[in-house]
Each structure stands twice: as C-alpha cells, then as structure tokens.
Symmetry: C2
C-alpha cells in the first residue's frame, strides 16, 4: 500500500473536512442554522441555456453519439467554438487544435504540469495564498513544489520574494487570478512586471519558464473590472480552464487546456499534453458536457448575485470590526483571524460558522469565506459573527 496516498486519504483536505462537518451539523440543528462558508460550490444557478442545451441533446440527438467517445483531445466542434469565443473576447487567433478538453481544473493542471516537467530537479512555484491541492498536482508530475511568500499588504505578487525563489530549475509558475482564496485580480501592471522578469530569467537560464494560468474564476469579476489575458502579455503561457464556476457546474468536471501558438515549441508541447492525458487515464472529457460547451462557452450565471453577497458580507464584517481584503473577483473573502487561524476556525464552529483556516493556502492568520451561498445565509450569519468577534474582547 502507498503510505502517502493513505495519509492523504485519511487527512482529508481541510476544506472537504469542514464540508463534511457542516453536512453532519445541518442534519442535527437544521440547514438554516449552519452558516457554511467552506466550499466554492456556486450558489448562482447555471445560465438557463446550460440545462436547455443538455435537455435538447438528450431529447433530440442519437444517444449513441451524445454519450459516445469523442477524439481523445476532445470534440472538434467544441474546441473550435471555444477558440472562436476566446478570439472574439481577447483579440487572439486561437485554433481548435490548440485546445485539449479535460475533466475540469484539477485535470487541466495535473496534465499540464506533467507535460512541462521532465525531472526530479524541476521546480514549480505557486504564489501564496494558493489553492492547497497545487502541491499534490505539482508532485504528481515528479517536480518540486515551491511557495512564493505572500504580499500581505495587497495580496498581489511579492516580487522580492519571487526573485529569491526563481532559479535554474524553475520550470513554471502557477498564476491564479481572480485569486482563490483572496478574490484579488492581479493588475495588468503586476502581470507585465512578472512577464518582463520571467523573460529576463528565461534568457539567463536558457530554457522556457511557463506561466500556468489556473483561471476558473476568469468570468467572475465585479464593478466592470477586466481580467488581463496573460498570453497576450507573455508568450510562454498555458491556460488551464474549468467551467465549474462560470457555468456553475462544479460537480460535472469539464474544462480545457489551451496551448497558445506563441509558446515555445507549442505543437510539441500540445502533443506532450495529449501524452500526459494518456498517462493519467484522462483522455476524452465527459461527452455531453463537451457538446453543451460548444453552445454555452462564454456564458455565465447571474454574477450580480455574487456581487450582492460580496457587499453584504464585506460590509457586514468590516462594520463589526473584522479586517478583510476587498475582493474584485471570484467569490471568496479573506478575513484576518482573531487568533491563530485553525483555532479561530475551531471557535467559529461553536457558533455554527464554517470558515476555512488559511494555513493550507500557504499563509497564516486568515480564514477564507466562500460567499457563493444564499444571500440569507450571509444576512443571518451576522449576529453569529458579532458574537464570535465579541468573544475575543
């Protein structure tokens, strides 16, 4: 038996652990009395076109075709539709054959990292705070995982820290913007600075350093904020996308990898992506969801619901006295804990408030609140947050 797998299986991710606790607690005190901010499970319904398209496929198409194998890299029509949508929005010139369909964000990352990395000395960086499973995904490719410490002022990129982390072995840096867990959208200025820094380092070391964009929250932004399209700023960028959040389909596992043509040896790299998909048994993403994406890529649910939640939660908590990062995108609020984060999360549970300590995200002293909940959950949680706050006086 593999001891590491056993340990990972028995120490479930902190987020999943809280999710299970909350399910049990709801069964005891009632759904409406547990204020669960643990999981990024979208509360906004999918755009109505999603279910309408699925029903149409099920009612009117040959079921053997609807549910049949697609090409390993994905349905050609779907990949063309995605390329067209991206080109329209970002002024690019992508082709369907630069896209590889996957079973969602985790699959996109695991496959991409495997395709990039080729030895045990390779290093992949993540900027803290980051999604905790990145560490596993990087290690599954055989590379080392390295954390760039956070900029605790702005939660943008900490360039001094980054400079110290990059070396001859650096193969990639994962960029997650809009960011989980802070909701920060990296500014174009930051990303340009990152691009020119990495270009310098590529020349110095004589090999590509990829930006791996994990961007499931790309369409979830507020106040008209634009998310810069990183491949337009830096050639060696690979996009890992998932429809989990934009189309509110977290459980359905559908996404893609885009290897833009400006990437170093992009055609070869695309083939490496195909090969890595085979190694992990990941070929052919769920077929009916691929066919739905051909019609629905680029759509979202009603983002204004998240915006209302953000304002209610941010305003409510700051009025009580909590310190939070103001989020421009995604659906997370990063709140300063009033003691050590795991202890704070434990104490919050006594008030039936489920919040995720930041330690797993590579930063100490914060908790993450996912506000993709019912609006009422936020409003009704405020007296509990007040009581929790007062308990520290």
């Amino acid at each position: 038996m593999d001891e590491r797998s056993y340990k990972l299986g028995s120490n479930r991710s902190a987020i999943r652990e809280l999710f299970e606790f909350s399910k049990k607690r709801k069964a005891i005190v009632g759904e409406e009395n547990v204020f669960d901010f643990s999981l990024g499970n979208p509360s906004v319904a999918p755009n109505p076109a999603v279910n309408a398209t699925l029903i149409d496929l099920l009612q009117n198409e040959d079921p053997c075709l609807v549910h049949g194998y697609t090409s390993a890299q994905g349905d050609a029509e779907t990949r063309e539709a995605i390329a067209l949508d991206l080109n329209k929005r970002f002024g690019t010139n992508y082709k369907g054959n630069e896209i590889y369909m996957t079973c969602g964000a985790a699959a996109s990352l695991v496959i991409t990292l495997k395709a990039i990395n080729d030895g045990p000395d390779d290093e992949v960086l993540a900027i803290a705070p980051f999604f905790p499973e990145y560490k596993l995904f990087v290690e599954s490719s055989g590379a080392k995982f390295k954390v760039v410490p956070a900029d605790l002022e702005s939660f943008e990129i900490n360039f001094n820290a980054l400079e110290e982390c990059v070396n001859q072995n650096t193969k990639a840096i994962i960029v997650d913007s809009p960011n989980n867990p802070t909701g920060v959208v990296y500014s174009e200025e930051s990303l340009k600075k990152l691009a020119s820094f990495l270009e310098k380092k590529q020349k110095e070391y004589g090999h590509p350093i990829y930006i791996v964009c994990d961007e499931p929250y790309r369409e979830i932004v507020y106040d008209g904020k634009a998310v810069p399209h990183i491949p337009s700023l830096y050639d060696n960028t690979i996009i890992c996308y998932s429809y989990s959040k934009s189309l509110s389909l977290p459980g359905e596992r559908i996404g893609y990898i885009l290897v833009p043509p400006k990437c170093h040896e992009s055609e070869k790299l695309y083939l490496a992506v195909c090969g890595a998909g085979r190694i992990f048994g990941y070929v052919c993403a769920p077929s009916i969801f691929q066919k739905m994406v051909a019609k629905c890529t680029g759509l979202t649910g009603d983002i204004s619901e998240y915006a209302r939640n953000r304002d209610a939660l941010y305003n409510g908590l700051t009025e009580i006295g909590y310190e939070c990062v103001y989020p421009a995108g995604a659906f997370y609020l990063f709140v300063k804990a009033l003691e050590d984060a795991p202890a704070f999360s434990e104490r919050a549970k006594q008030y039936d408030l489920i919040v995720v300590p930041s330690d797993g995200f590579g930063v100490k002293g914060y908790v993450r609140l996912a506000y993709c909940t019912k609006y009422e959950t936020i409003v009704n949680s405020m007296p509990r947050f007040k009581a929790l706050f007062d308990s520290y006086k």
Copy 2:
C-alpha cells in the same frame, strides 16, 4: 518538456489512430463504405431509463444540487444504491462506504494502482492479451509493468507462464474478464486455480497480492453465461468498474472502485484510494451521472443486438476461412491475421476494413474486431473480408 509525454502524444494509441483514419476516410468515400471495427464505442442505445433519468434530474431538481460537488468519494445515495445492487446479484454484503466513484475505468485503474503500489520495485502483472493502456496506468503508479504471456489455445490464464512471472515484488495482477480483446470469460475453474495459486504466493512472500478486476464488460455476456464474482473466490480483490459499456456511455466517464471488506486492511486501503484520487486531481466524479447511476445501476441496453452481431461476424468470417476465438462476452472478436498483424491491418485498410493489430495487446499475429457496430456494417463487410482473404491466396 516531458519527452515521454511528448512521445505518447505523438504516437497515439493504435486504436485511436485507426479511429482518426476511419473518420477521415468516411468523409471521402461515405460512412456506409467504411467498415470500422476499431473502437469499442457501443452501438446499442443506452437503456431508455438513462436518458429519462437525466432529463428528469434536469427538469425537476435544483440545478445547483444536480451539478454541484458531491463528497470527494462520491454521492452517498449513489454508493448505497450500487452496493445494494451488487449484494442482490452476488449475495454479498457490501456497504456504500466501500465504494469510491470515479471518472470511468481508466481513472479507476490509475487510482487503484497508485493506492496499492509503494515503490519502484513493485511489479504489476497483466495477462496477455490485455488493454494496451494498462502499461501506462501501471507506470503512472511508479511500478513496473510485466506481461504474463497468453495461452494461445484457449486465451484463458496461462498458469505455467504466470508461475514464472510472480515473485517477491509482485503486488497485483490485473484480470479483465470478459476480456478485451478476445471476448473470453475466464471460467470459475480458472479463477479458483488463480486464487489458490495467489494465496500460496501471498503466504510465501508475506504480503498481499491483489487481483485488480477491470470489468466494464461484466454485464455483456451471451448464451446465459455467468461471470464469476472474483471477490467471492479471493479476498484480496479490488473491483474497477465503468458504466461505459453496460450503460452505453463510453464518453461520459463514470465508474467506481470497490474495496471489499475482506481485503487486507480494507479500511486503510480505501483511504489510500481516496488519497490517490487527490494526487491525480480525480476527486468527485461527474455529478449528474452519479445521480443517474443511483437509479440505473445494474441496467443494460439490449444485449441481444450484440449477440446477433457476434453470430453474424463469427459465422461470416469462419465461413470465409478465418480462424477466430469464439467470444462469450464483451463485443470483440479476436481473429488470426493472415500475415504479420500490423501488415495485415494495413492491407485491410485498402479494403476500407478497419481492424486493430494485436501487437499492442501483447500478442502477435491477431487483429481485434469490435462488433459494437451497426448490423448492416457486419453484413456489408463480408465481401470485403472475402476479397481480403482471397488476396492472400
């Protein structure tokens, strides 16, 4: 870049390569003039309950729940339903929490092998002929892949060859019955012999040797033939299942792993499965398909259509003069090639007959014909097979 991934991506699996060739050829000469026996893409429609259940979920349930995250190991109701169905059919006493939902057979195998293997000396056996991607799946767990040569008489298990392959490092043997590519269903006698052989070897080496059952074809059997339930014959058996073939959903990626309670340290092993799922980013199988499975597990499409195809193909080819293994299950016919298999497959292409050479399956000198095609394809292909046969005179 990872050279191995690149090579695997550029040398596509022989099956997928032929599938792509056939698609292109159909575009030129017309669908009805290409006789494609390359891919195990079920031709029998799913049981009507499948689409009816999916439509019901889409029309009548909260879309945020239908498409939301389930627990990492899968929806509790679904896992209970699967356990109940297995118990009813096999007289067992499985529980939902012994089942881990996956994105299909490949995922089931990759995760299981990772959970079992813990070092580079570990060896996993497959009995030739076998599904070619097994080699990749075993290697993704860090173990060595080793082939037990075929019994070319019966295509049952070659016990003399097996005896030579098992040693102190053997951690598992993959058993695929009904077999892809031969259609042979291993007899209860063979499996009991395998069980007592492995029990002896476990004692000798002092560690478990698992049978990993890859059984997506379990329900696709003819003439009232029973497929023995291997966990009832041998304790250290893990089931890797997929609904791709039984429910005719090959593109939808839904299946499960069953870790029976009689397995050595089964609870710990189940947790290792959970951990291995995390490592490869495989947690939470597609949600709506999990919910469909809760209602449809145990159902199949109309298997008699495959039986009719089998008879038409087997009788037609043997009348021409070809030698074939008579298949009791799955939907493959294993036919003796009239020269070296790759050359034979190449020559067949000139007659627009698409057949897969056996070399990738670990046996030389045969081709695999998937007869999950239209009945007419089989009937109309006969003059081509005759012409191909005559070309060797």
